[in-house]
C-alpha cells in the first residue's frame, strides 16, 4: 500500500471520508441544507480528483480491484449522476417530506454510491459481492425511507425479499464456480481451462447461470423484471432515478467486466440464454408499457426494454460491444436523470406527479419543462437530433456487425412499439389543458435550480444527438 495506491484510491477515500464526516455532522447538528451542501461538496470533490487523474496504465490491487480507464469512466458517471440525484433529492425532500430526520437519506445515498463506485472496479467475487451488498442494502433504506408512506414500505419489502433471494442465487452460483475452479477472480476464471464436456464444466456453467439470475434481477431483465414498476412507483423519484441509473449502470459495468475478463463468450449456452433474455425483455418490456398511465411505472417498463437493447451490445462482444454499451448506458443515464428530475419538478406538494393526467397541456403551461421532457422522450424513443438515436444506432451497428439479425429485428419491433407509448405522453402534453390546478408548490430557488439542471441535461442530450464524436472518441479510448 504505497503512495500511488492512495492517490489512485483518492476519490473513493474522499467519498468514504465524506460519509464519516457527514455522519458526525448529523450527530452534532441536524440541518438539512448543511447536510446537502456537505454531501454535494464531497461528491464534487471526489469527482474533481477523479477527473484530475490520468491512468496511463491500469492499476490493480491484487485480484480484488482493477482501476483502469473503463472503471474510471464508470466511477465518474456514477459520481456525476449521484450529484444530480442529490440535487433533486434535496428538492423533493424539502418539498414533499415534512417528517423529521431528513439527513440520513444523504448518508445512505453516499453509501450506495460508494458501493457502486467500488463495484465497477471490482474484479473478484468477494469484492464484487461486498460492494454489491453495500449498494443493495443502502437501496433498501432509500426506497423505504419515507416510512410513513405505505407504498414506500411495500416497495422496500418487495425489493428486500427479492434482492436477498437473488443475492442467494448469486452466492450459490459463485460457490459452484469456486468449487470447480478454485479461484474467485474473474481473471483466474478465464485462465482455467478444462474439457467443456465434462461434468465440471456443466457445474461451472450452472454457476454462471445462477449468477445471471442475480445480475438479471439487478438489471431488471425479463423474467426477473417483476419488481421494477412497483419499486419505481413506491420510491421517491430521486431514489427511482438512483436505482435506474446508478445501481443498474454499476451492474452493467460489472457484467461487461465479468463477460470480457472471464471470457464467457466461450459458452454458447450462456450466449443463448442471454439472447433469449434480451429478446424477451425488449418485447415484454415495451408491451407492458404500452398503455401504462403511471409515468413512473411507464419509465420502469421502458427501462426493462432498454436493458434488453443493451444486452445486444453485451452479446455482440468486446471490440464493438463494449463501447456501444458504454455509450448507450451513458445516454440512458442522462435521459433517466432528466425524466425523474422532471417528475420531481412537476409534482405537487402532497403527492408526486405519476399519473399522466398531471401532464395534460404541459406544453402550454410550462413550455420549457415540456420541451425538455419531449426531447427526453424522443431520445428514449431514439429519434434523430437526440442522443438516444445515436445510442440506438451504435447498438444496431454492434448487432449488425456481429450479424445478430434476430436481436436487431427485435430491437426494431420493440422500438416501434415503444414509440407508441412515448408519443402518448407527448400527446398528453400537447392536449388543451383542462386541469387548471396551479403548478408545483415548490420553493422558487430550488425549483429554478432544478430547471437549470434539467436544461443542462436536455442540452446535453441534443448535443450528443448532433455531434457525438467527442464522446465516442473518449469511449473508444477505454480498453
Amino acid at each position: 500500500m504505497e503512495a500511488t495506491d492512495i492517490r489512485i484510491l483518492l476519490p473513493i477515500i474522499i467519498l468514504a471520508g465524506g460519509i464519516l464526516f457527514t455522519l458526525l455532522l448529523v450527530a452534532v447538528k441536524r440541518n438539512h441544507l448543511l447536510t446537502f451542501i456537505c454531501t454535494s461538496t464531497t461528491l464534487a470533490a471526489s469527482l474533481i480528483t477523479l477527473c484530475c487523474m490520468t491512468y496511463e496504465k491500469s492499476h490493480s490491487f491484487g485480484d480484488l480491484f482493477l482501476l483502469d480507464r473503463f472503471g474510471l469512466y464508470y466511477q465518474g458517471l456514477i459520481l456525476l449522476s449521484t450529484l444530480v440525484v442529490t440535487i433533486f433529492s434535496y428538492i423533493s425532500i424539502r418539498n414533499f417530506y415534512p417528517e423529521k430526520r431528513k439527513e440520513e437519506y444523504y448518508l445512505v445515498l453516499m453509501l450506495g454510491t460508494l458501493g457502486a463506485a467500488m463495484m465497477v472496479v471490482s474484479t473478484h467475487f468477494i469484492s464484487f459481492f461486498v460492494s454489491l451488498e453495500i449498494l443493495t442494502i443502502s437501496l433498501y433504506t432509500l426506497i423505504s425511507y419515507y416510512r410513513e408512506r405505505s407504498k414506500a414500505i411495500e416497495a422496500g419489502l418487495k425489493y428486500l425479499i427479492l434482492a436477498a433471494m437473488s443475492s442467494a442465487f448469486l452466492l450459490f452460483g459463485m460457490a459452484l464456480i469456486y468449487s470447480i475452479s478454485g479461484t474467485m477472480s474473474f481473471q483466474g476464471f478465464a485462465e482455467i481451462s478444462f474439457p467443456l464436456t465434462s461434468m465440471s464444466s456443466v457445474i461451472i456453467v450452472a454457476g454462471v447461470g445462477m449468477m445471471m439470475v442475480s445480475i438479471g434481477f439487478k438489471l431488471g431483465l425479463v423474467p426477473f423484471h417483476m419488481w421494477t414498476p412497483d419499486i419505481y412507483e413506491g420510491a421517491s423519484s430521486p431514489t427511482s432515478a438512483f436505482i435506474a441509473t446508478i445501481s443498474k449502470g454499476a451492474m452493467l459495468a460489472v457484467l461487461l467486466h465479468f463477460f470480457i475478463m472471464a471470457d464467457l463468450y466461450r459458452f454458447k449456452s450462456i450466449l443463448l440464454t442471454f439472447t433469449i433474455i434480451a429478446v424477451l425483455s425488449m418485447l415484454i418490456g415495451n408491451l407492458l408499457a404500452l398503455r401504462q398511465n403511471n409515468i413512473k411505472r411507464l419509465l420502469a417498463y421502458s427501462s426493462i426494454a432498454h436493458f434488453g437493447y443493451l444486452l445486444i451490445a453485451v452479446i455482440a462482444g468486446k471490440e464493438i460491444g463494449l463501447p456501444a454499451a458504454t455509450f448507450y448506458i451513458t445516454v440512458y443515464i442522462i435521459t433517466m436523470l432528466g425524466a425523474f428530475g422532471l417528475v420531481t419538478l412537476i409534482s405537487r406538494s402532497n403527492e408526486e406527479a405519476m399519473d399522466i393526467e398531471a401532464y395534460l397541456g404541459l406544453f402550454w403551461r410550462k413550455p420549457i419543462l415540456a420541451t425538455i421532457f419531449t426531447v427526453i422522450l424522443l431520445s428514449l424513443a431514439g429519434i434523430p437530433l437526440t442522443a438516444g438515436f445515436m445510442a440506438k444506432f451504435f447498438l444496431l451497428t454492434a448487432g449488425v456487425e456481429e450479424s445478430k439479425w434476430l436481436l436487431a429485428f427485435t430491437l426494431v419491433v420493440g422500438s416501434v412499439i415503444g414509440l407508441y407509448y412515448y408519443l402518448r405522453v407527448i400527446v398528453a402534453m400537447m392536449k388543451k389543458d383542462e386541469n387548471t390546478v396551479p403548478g408545483a408548490s415548490l420553493s422558487r430557488i430550488s425549483y429554478y435550480a432544478g430547471v437549470l439542471v434539467l436544461i443542462i441535461l436536455g442540452v446535453l442530450v441534443m448535443e450528443l444527438g448532433t455531434s457525438p464524436a467527442w464522446l465516442i472518441d473518449v469511449i473508444n479510448g477505454l480498453p
Partner: protein, 571 residues
C-alpha cells in the same frame, strides 16, 4: 456551402418565428414568409445559373465535412439536376404553405411555423444528403415536426392520424437503417473502408441474396412513404386530418422523398436486385394506381378522396421507376412535380371549402359554383389536371410513364394501368359534380377566393399549365441524373467472357434487360447505330451484343438477324 446555408436559413427562420410569437401573431407569419421567399429566390437563381453543359461533370454543387469520423460518417450535401428540381419544388411549396396557413392557423402560430420550417429543412436535407447516415438522419428528422403539425393543428382525429403516420414511417425507416448498416459493413469488410459515402458504396459487391434482402429494407421504407398498396393505409388518415399546409407538404414533398429515394438509392445501389424485384414492384404500382382510384371514387370526405388520388398517382411512380426505361424515368420525375402541384392545389381548395362551410362531407356540398365561381374554376383546372388532361403537366408525366414502361418488359401491366384514364375521370368528375355542380342544399353565403388565395392558386395554375406546354424546362435538368441511373441499372458491368455463363446461371433479368437493349437497337431504326456505338464505347462490349443476339432463349431470332443485317449494312 450555399447548401448548408439553405438549411441553416430554414432552421434559423423557424427559431426566429417561434421567438417572435412572443410579441404578436403577425410577426412569425411575416418572418417565415420572408425566409421561404429567400429560399425560393436562391433555388430560382441556382436554376437559372444551371446549364446542361456542365451536367456531364459529376455534381453541380457539393459540400463535405467530417461529422463522426469514428464511423466514417460525413456531412455531405450534394446537388445535381434531380435534387435541384426537388429543391425548386420544395421552396415553391414552402412559400405556398406559409401563404395558405396565413389565416387558417390562429393557435400557437410561432410554434406552427417553427415546425413547418424544421420540416422543410429536413426534407431539403433528404434531397441533398449523399451520405447514407445523413440521409437516414434527415429521413427520421422530418417525421417529428410533421407529427406535431398533424396532431396539434389537425382536424378531429388528429391524434390517431399522427400516431399512425409516425409509427408506419418509423418502422419502415428502422428497416432501412438495418439495410444501411448491412451495406456499410459488407462494403467495409470487402474493401476495408468503413464509410457511409454514397459514391463509394455504389460499387459495393455482394451476393445476390444479400443484395436483395438489403434492398428490401430500402424499398420498404420508400414504398411506405410512397404509400404503395398495401403499405398506404397511413396516408389517407394523415392527409385528411392534417391542416392544409400539412396536407400540402405531405402530398407535395413527403411522398416525393420516397420516389426520390428509389431513384437515388434503391436502384443505383442494387441494380441486379432491382431487376429481380421489378415484376412485383410494377405489379404493386399498377394495383395502387387502380385500387387508389377505386377507393377515391368511393370516398365521401373531400380530403380523403384527394388522399386516395395521391395513392393512385404514386402508383405511376412505382410503375415508371421499375420499368427501367429512360422515358418512363423522366415521366416519374415529372410526375413527382406535377402531382405535388395538382394534389397540393386540390388540398388547398378542400381546405378553403372547409374554412367556409365547415364540413368535408361531399354530400353536404353542391352548387357552390354560383357562390364561388373563382374557386370553381380553380377546382376545375386541378381536377382536370389530376385526371391527366392534356395541356396540363400531369398528362406529360402519365403519358411518358405509360409509353415508357410499355417499351420495357411489362407491356400487359402497362395496358391494364391505362384503365386509370377511365377510372380517373370517374373520381375526378365526382368532385366537380358533388362540390360545384348540382343543387345547393342550402343557400351558401360564403366569400369567394380573396387576393391572397388567388395569388396562390394562380401561381399553381400557371406552373401546371407551363409544365403542360413546355415540360422541357424540367427534362433539361433531369436528363443527366436520369441517364446516369438508367446506365447504372440497365448495363451491369461484367468482365468479358463470364458473360454467357453468368446469364445462363441465374439472372434471367439481365437477359431480359439485354434483350431490351437489343430491342432499343433494333426498333429505334435510325437510332440503332448511335445506341450500339455509345454502349460499345462505354463498356467495350460488342461481343456481348453478338452473344445476346444468339442467346438460345432469345424470343425472336429473326429480329436479331434483321438487326444484324441492318447494322452491318450501315457500317
Amino acid at each position: 456551402m450555399i447548401l448548408v446555408w439553405i438549411i441553416i436559413l430554414l432552421i434559423g427562420t423557424g427559431l426566429l418565428a417561434w421567438l417572435a410569437s412572443g410579441w404578436n401573431t403577425f410577426l412569425p407569419r411575416l418572418i417565415s414568409l420572408v425566409g421561404t421567399l429567400i429560399y425560393f429566390g436562391i433555388t430560382l437563381w441556382l436554376w437559372l445559373e444551371y446549364d446542361p453543359g456542365i451536367g456531364s461533370q459529376k455534381w453541380i454543387i457539393s459540400y463535405t465535412a467530417e461529422w463522426i469520423p469514428a464511423f466514417g460518417i460525413q456531412f455531405k450535401l450534394v446537388m445535381d439536376g434531380l435534387s435541384l428540381l426537388m429543391l425548386l419544388l420544395t421552396s415553391f411549396l414552402s412559400v405556398i404553405c406559409v401563404l395558405v396557413s396565413w389565416k387558417e392557423i390562429n393557435r400557437r402560430v410561432g410554434f406552427f411555423h417553427f415546425n413547418l420550417l424544421l420540416e422543410l429543412a429536413g426534407i431539403t436535407g433528404i434531397f441533398l444528403s449523399l451520405d447514407l447516415f445523413l440521409f437516414y438522419f434527415s429521413w427520421e428528422l422530418m417525421l417529428v415536426p410533421m407529427y406535431f403539425l398533424i396532431s396539434i393543428w389537425g382536424h378531429e382525429d388528429r391524434i390517431y392520424a399522427g400516431k399512425k403516420f409516425f409509427l408506419f414511417t418509423q418502422a419502415s425507416g428502422l428497416l432501412m437503417l438495418l439495410s444501411i448498416l448491412g451495406l456499410y459493413f459488407i462494403h467495409g469488410q470487402n474493401t476495408g473502408i468503413y464509410t457511409f459515402d454514397y459514391e463509394q458504396l455504389l460499387d459495393a459487391t455482394m451476393a445476390p441474396q444479400t443484395a436483395f434482402l438489403l434492398m428490401l429494407g430500402f424499398v420498404v421504407a420508400f414504398t411506405v412513404k410512397l404509400s404503395t398498396v398495401p403499405l398506404h393505409s397511413w396516408l389517407p388518415d394523415a392527409h385528411t386530418q392534417a391542416p392544409t399546409a400539412g396536407s400540402v407538404i405531405l402530398a407535395g414533398l413527403l411522398l416525393k422523398t420516397g420516389a426520390y429515394g428509389l431513384i437515388r438509392f434503391a436502384l443505383p445501389l442494387f441494380p441486379e436486385a432491382s431487376h429481380q424485384l421489378a415484376p412485383l414492384a410494377v405489379l404493386l404500382g399498377v394495383v395502387s394506381i387502380l385500387y387508389g382510384a377505386k377507393l377515391a371514387f368511393a370516398q365521401t370526405d373531400f380530403k380523403r378522396l384527394v388522399a386516395y388520388i395521391s395513392v393512385s398517382h404514386m402508383g405511376f411512380i412505382l410503375l415508371g421507376v421499375y420499368s427501367f426505361n429512360e422515358m418512363a424515368m423522366h415521366g416519374v420525375v415529372m410526375q413527382m412535380i406535377v402531382h405535388a402541384v395538382s394534389t397540393g392545389a386540390l388540398f388547398i381548395i378542400a381546405g378553403a371549402v372547409y374554412d367556409r362551410i365547415h364540413t368535408r362531407d361531399l354530400h353536404q356540398m353542391g352548387g357552390l359554383w354560383r357562390q364561388v365561381p373563382r374557386m370553381g374554376t380553380m377546382g376545375l383546372v386541378f381536377v382536370m389536371a389530376s385526371m391527366g388532361l392534356p395541356g396540363l403537366g400531369n398528362f406529360i408525366a402519365e403519358i411518358l410513364i405509360l409509353i415508357g414502361s410499355f417499351q420495357g418488359n411489362f407491356k400487359v401491366l402497362t395496358v391494364i394501368a391505362t384503365v386509370i384514364l377511365i377510372t380517373a375521370t370517374a373520381y375526378a368528375l365526382r368532385i366537380m359534380q358533388k362540390v360545384f355542380y348540382g343543387k345547393e342544399h342550402k343557400v351558401w353565403e360564403i366569400p369567394d377566393f380573396g387576393i391572397r388565395e388567388m395569388i396562390v392558386m394562380l401561381s399553381l395554375t400557371s406552373v401546371i399549365i407551363w409544365l403542360g406546354w413546355n415540360p422541357s424546362s424540367v427534362f433539361r435538368l433531369s436528363k443527366v441524373p436520369v441517364q446516369k441511373v438508367i446506365q447504372k441499372i440497365n448495363i451491369p458491368e461484367y468482365s468479358q467472357g463470364e458473360e454467357m455463363e453468368r446469364i445462363d446461371r441465374d439472372n434471367i433479368y439481365n437477359v431480359a434487360n439485354f434483350l431490351d437493349i437489343k430491342y432499343v437497337a433494333i426498333n429505334k431504326g435510325n437510332q440503332a447505330q448511335k445506341i450500339i456505338k455509345e454502349v460499345n464505347n462505354t463498356y467495350g462490349r460488342r461481343t456481348e451484343f453478338e452473344t445476346i443476339n444468339y442467346l438460345p432463349n432469345s424470343p425472336d431470332i429473326e429480329q436479331a438477324e434483321e438487326f444484324k443485317k441492318r447494322s452491318s449494312k450501315t457500317e
